[in-house]
């Protein structure tokens, strides 16, 4: 079977900024060799702290910046010389949105749609992302989450094969987050290559098929979340995830040494040094409450542990 062509290939990407006045006019190398691939039908996450080079990497892939070294191929072409036909196959959501504040949201979406030959029906997309509720307010009156949803709609309206989402969860309230994350999973199921950046480990954990960790302008680790959190010299399990009905709260005295959180409705994660008796206590509690999980998984490390190991510091 032939290997499918990746939607995006970046090999040894180098990018310099400057000259910087504060550094006596020297250039600053912000990307020192980023390499990654993104395929169709998968969510590829660029994870890293602020300043790691995620946005610059995306901008080189989108053709907004020209690479100073290395190779960037987007759908087999050079994005810095993108034709309108190539741009029509690629959707972009910028970190700062790129939205004109004085325009009404749906007017902007209609305008962006008019740049494409066969755009999605604007009204259906607007309804799906809850944009119709903004009414006649101009963009400057929208909340951060509302602007994010509008920017996402603008990225998707042209029926792209590849979408770049720079920090898509920034400023999202929990409800918007669920809408946006569900949509991202749907895009993946539709066969799109979704490439997104985040500095939030939870986003990566929840969405990523494949993660690249960026640090100091380099890709320092890559793999599926399962690959990255698997540990050769594991001294036990440190993370337990389960899915079941939403809204459960474990009594604090049940597993006091474990940190518990409900990531999104019905998806729970417990972190800390896990023992077999912890699992037994948990199972007893489920049984007593009449709850049966639909999925359970354990990992020797959390993505947070992985990041800490690699960079020697916490991501936040």
């Amino acid at each position: 079977m032939p290997t499918p062509l990746p939607a995006l290939t970046i090999d040894g990407l180098i990018k310099d900024f400057g000259p910087v006045g504060a550094l006596d006019g020297r250039m600053v190398r912000v990307l020192e060799g980023v390499s990654l691939q993104a395929i169709h039908g998968a969510v590829t996450v660029l994870l890293g702290a602020n300043g790691a080079g995620k946005t610059t990497t995306l901008e080189c892939a989108q053709g907004l910046q020209r690479a100073d070294g290395g190779v960037v191929r987007l759908l087999g072409q050079d994005p810095s010389r993108a034709t309108p036909e190539l741009r029509a196959r690629v959707g972009v959501m910028l970190q700062d949105g790129g939205l004109p504040p004085s325009v009404r949201p749906l007017a902007l979406l209609h305008h962006v749609a008019s740049m494409y030959g066969s755009p999605l029906p604007v009204d259906a997309l607007a309804e799906r992302l809850g944009l119709d509720e903004f009414g006649a307010a101009s963009i400057r009156r929208l909340s951060g989450g509302q602007k994010q949803r509008l920017a996402l709609a603008c990225a998707l309206v042209g029926r792209p094969e590849v979408v770049f989402l720079d920090e898509p969860s920034a400023g999202l309230d929990p409800q918007s987050r669920t809408i946006v994350f569900d949509l991202i999973r749907e895009l993946r199921a539709d066969g799109l290559a979704v490439i997104l950046t985040t500095h939030l480990l939870d986003d990566a954990q929840r969405l990523a098929d494949y993660v690249y960790i960026l640090e100091g302008g380099r890709t320092v680790a890559e793999g599926t979340v399962a690959d990255l959190t698997a540990d050769k010299d594991a001294d036990g399990m440190r993370e337990l995830r389960f899915e079941t009905v939403p809204g459960l709260t474990l009594p604090p005295e049940l597993l006091p040494h474990l940190h518990q959180r409900e990531d999104e409705p019905g998806r729970y994660v417990l972190r800390g040094a896990l023992t077999a008796s912890d699992v037994a206590h948990l199972a007893q509690w489920w049984d007593a409450r009449g709850v049966m999980p639909t999925a359970i998984s354990m990992a020797p490390r959390s993505l947070e542990d992985v990041f800490l190991d690699i960079s020697g510091r916490s991501i936040r």
């Binding site: 079977m1 032939p2 499918p4 062509l5 395929i39 169709h40 039908g41 998968a42 989108q62 053709g63 907004l64 993108a82 309108p84 036909e85 741009r87 029509a88 196959r89 690629v90 959707g91 972009v92 910028l94 700062d96 949105g97 790129g98 939205l99 004109p100 504040p101 004085s102 325009v103 305008h111 962006v112 008019s114 740049m115 494409y116 030959g117 066969s118 920017a151 603008c154 042209g158 029926r159 792209p160 094969e161 539709d190 066969g191 799109l192």
Partner: protein
């Protein structure tokens, strides 16, 4: 190819180039005409200037009919307000908000954005020509018929030169600075740049400097065309030179982000 490699949906295609450019031009023109401050700059101030020049004796030294001297200058003023000040400010803030970067990732692209802006400037200028020209006709303006074609040519080159200058300012300065600079330059050129008062009537020491300004070339050129019915070749060349220089400078120094 595997199923996962071939997206099972209608692939994205681009609208045709003229459609993209005209849609964007219309969108920007409407935005300019809906903006209150821009409307004041584009319509209200030129109308006030026209009225003031017709009811005061300011231009009596330059010809028998006040309105015949005033109207071409006010049209030059309109070109500056729309192509330079209005478009420069809009572009400066679009750059700040990342709108230029976002739109350049759509099939519109950077070249489509620039072409769309040119269309928007032309559309707003057409509205100004109808409103201001109409008002001037009501005030007794009778432009020379043989001067209409030369005037159209000068307006075309002049709006290209001022659009390029506006983009140069908007693409190199912060939007607040663009706002200040484009307004200040507009006022200075309107007052002493040969737009309304012919360059030849300025103090002798200033005249050669003012005559090579794009404002004087456009103002004097339009007066020659519409009042005397002749094409001023020097004015044409000066405007062409400004359009070329400012265009090259904008291409060289314009920052998209």
């Amino acid at each position: 190819m595997t199923a996962a490699a071939t997206p099972a949906r209608t692939p994205g295609t681009a609208a045709a180039l003229p459609v993209r450019v005209l849609r964007h031009g219309g969108y920007e023109a409407l935005a300019m005409l809906r903006n209150g401050e821009q409307l004041v700059l584009a319509i209200v101030l030129p109308l006030l200037a026209l009225t003031a020049l017709v009811i005061t004796p300011l231009l009596d030294a330059y010809g028998p009919s006040r309105v015949d001297i005033a109207a071409p200058g006010v049209l030059a003023l309109c070109t500056m307000s729309t192509a330079f000040t209005g478009q420069g400010i809009a572009t400066g803030f679009d750059r700040r908000y990342g709108v230029l970067r976002f739109l350049s990732t759509t099939p519109l692209g950077r070249s489509g954005l620039i072409l769309g802006k040119a269309v928007a400037v032309a559309a707003v200028l057409a509205v100004q020509l109808v409103v201001i020209g109409g008002a001037a006709v009501l005030l007794g303006w009778s432009p020379r018929a043989e001067g209409l074609l030369p005037a159209a040519l000068l307006l075309l080159i002049g709006s290209a030169a001022f659009t390029a200058l506006g983009l140069l300012v908007a693409g190199t300065l912060r939007p607040e600075a663009t706002l200040a600079v484009t307004n200040l330059v507009w006022i200075l050129l309107a007052a002493a740049g040969g737009v309304i008062i012919p360059a030849a009537s300025l103090p002798a020491a200033a005249e050669p400097f003012v005559a090579v300004l794009p404002s004087a070339a456009l103002g004097d050129g339009l007066r020659s065309a519409l009042a005397d019915g002749v094409l001023d070749p020097i004015a044409c060349l000066v405007l062409l030179a400004w359009a070329a220089l400012a265009g090259l400078a904008a291409i060289r120094w314009f920052k998209w982000s």
